[in-house]
Amino acid sequence: MPSACAETVPAAGLLSRLPDDELELLLLIRHFELQLLDLYGRGELNGTTHTCLGQEYIPVAVSGLLRDGDFVLSNHRGHGHYLARYRDPHGLLAEIMGREGAICAGVGGSQHIRREGYLSTGIQGESLPVATGIALHLKRTRPGALACVYIGDGSWGEGAVYEALNLASLWRLPLLVVVENNGIAQSTPTSRQLAGTIAGRAAAFGLGHLGIGSLDVIGIRTALAPALDLVRRGEPLVAEFAAHRLGPHSKGDDTRSAPEIEHARAHDWYRRYADQHPRQFAQFDAAQREHVRAVVAEVSARPPSTWTRS
């Protein structure tokens, strides 16, 4: 599904070689999500989940530019956001599985996670006003820090998004809106749910907009870094990524045609990186797959989480 994202940072085929630990992080997220789908397939998980397969490079690129005092808000498709910030697959899996050591005692699950400087919630558009409030707090108490909120293309149907963008622009708040525009909102193509463009909507509020088609973590950071400096000084930014969702919305609910799915697969950083940096990739891919398998085995064997209500 080609995206309507106006790209100021265009897609290019080449991916820069990453430091080993950055590649490890990308692969950690990939294998974490694959293992989750496997666990669901085997009936080991309660409820539902939304994987970020194909979008892992976005939080990895963004997190590299964030500081400890920044605040991240995530959404329903948030495993990559969390892992990129904390590299804590044990805590996240325990949360999703309701096991001891869960980040939020198993109450929040996949979509409702809170740690110092991190918050996710599952209702579309709800997080943007909250991020605006957090940015207001940061502006007063921690000048130079920013609030980074991840939303999808589908979230732009929610009115609260616009109330927040208006306030953030009006009050010159350090707010970074990262849009993972994967061209499809659950089952609805963006072309059937979004009139005009996200760039146009950002412009309407006097907000900066950066369209990013690239899958190259280093290239993305180079483009984003100066814009983030401006965000930290009170110029909010909408950074819109032309992303590609490889998997279903949640599990087994992908209604896209075979060519559409193949188009997404053709833009998978994983395949490209394997082709372009085969030796480094081979060295870490198998290791991360094994690492996540070990996490699954260890966390699955833990006792259930306990919740102290008061």
Binding site: F71, A102, I103, C104, A105, G106, V107, G108, H112, I113, R114, L119, T121, I123, E126, L128, P129, V130, A131, T132, G133, I134, A135, L136, H137, L138, R140, T141, A147, G159, A160, E163, A164, N166, L167, L170, W171, W307, T308, R309, S310
Partner: protein, 326 residues
């Protein structure tokens, strides 16, 4: 001192005491000071923390939630309580749930002020008492402005809870006096519940939130003078969780109980109170708790039509008389 002045003073005190306290709302900045002038003088004294906002109830409630999640204190003014419907999602689905849905209890100090009620001819969308829609939400408490409860004390109580609160303010109380003369009755407090009574066993108890208190008191006077009926009024500050205990009603010795409120009929706060009293006093009441409220109707604009729908002192007088004469 009028109720509006007491509320204004409480907001001044909250902002003065807590450097992280914020107040957000539409048209709240000076010199306008809010549609009901409750925020007068606040933006001049605290320009960085008293923020007049665009017309964005969902947005500003979400912003307030963000502040509260960072440990700040946030107070939001809905210009009219009716508009809190626009903020239902951030309030119910995030602010209230944040107290517990992240596994450990985390304080969320957020008060949403809702100028409510009719009697001023503002019509169907500016006259409602919507508190019934916010009862039974885990992590959310509901309070009502009362002439018998100092506003600063109520704010301190709400903020100490560490969970979001809806603060219902009946607009007609703004211009009425704080701690009004209750003669020939006298006033005391049982827990957080104000009691207005004679020194004898009352024939009935009327439970009413702050906005109904003056109407109930007027009915009590006319019932006493015209019918020699002795009643006790109980005015809780906290509506939900219900602060009126069955034991407190039992101690009065009364066997007939009324709950008077301005909400339209159906699924009311009074029904919640009645259920608790029935559970605690089953067999000791002479008759089921009588609910007095507005008709199950939109609230009309024209004065004569509005009077038909809303409960007045005369409504309470009539219902008490009918119940006791049965």
């Amino acid at each position: 001192m009028r109720v509006a002045e007491n509320l204004n003073a409480a907001l001044h005190a909250v902002l003065a005491a807590d450097p992280g306290a914020h107040l957000l709302g539409e048209d709240i900045a000076d010199p306008y000071g809010g549609a009901f002038k409750i925020t007068r003088g606040l933006s001049e004294r605290y320009p960085d923390r008293v923020l007049t906002t665009p017309i964005s109830e969902a947005g500003i409630t979400g912003v307030a939630c963000g502040l509260a999640l960072c440990g700040d204190t946030a107070v939001v003014e809905m210009m009219f309580g009716d508009f809190v419907a626009l903020a239902f999602d951030p309030l119910v689905n995030l602010a209230a749930k944040s107290v517990s849905m992240y596994g450990a209890r985390r304080p969320v100090r957020l008060v949403v002020r809702c100028p409510s009620g009719g009697g001023r001819g503002y019509g169907p969308t500016h006259s409602q008492s919507l508190m019934k829609h916010f009862l039974g939400v885990p992590g959310l408490s509901v309070y009502e402005l009362s002439p018998f409860h100092d506003c600063l004390g109520v704010f301190e109580e709400m903020l100490a809870l560490g969970e979001p609160c809806l603060f219902v303010e009946d607009k007609v109380t703004y211009t009425r006096p704080m701690f009004p003369d209750v003669a020939p009755f006298r006033l005391d407090y049982d827990g957080g519940v104000a009691r207005v009574f004679l020194d004898e066993r009352p024939d009935c108890v009327i439970i009413a939130p702050g906005g109904m208190a003056h109407r109930a008191l007027e009915a009590m006077r006319s019932l006493l003078v015209e019918e020699e009926i002795s009643s006790m009024l109980m005015v809780p500050s906290r509506l939900y969780p219900v602060a009126v205990e069955a034991a407190a009603v039992e101690r009065t010795g009364a066997e007939v109980v009324f709950v008077a409120e301005e909400s339209t009929g159906g699924g009311t706060w009074g029904a919640e109170v009645a259920h608790r009293l029935h559970a605690g006093l089953w067999g000791r009441l002479r008759r089921p708790v009588t609910l007095i409220h507005a008709l199950d109707s939109v609230i009309p604009t024209a004065a004569h039509l509005e009077r038909e729908v809303l409960p007045a002192a005369s409504t309470i007088h009539r219902q008490v008389l009918e119940a006791l004469r049965e």
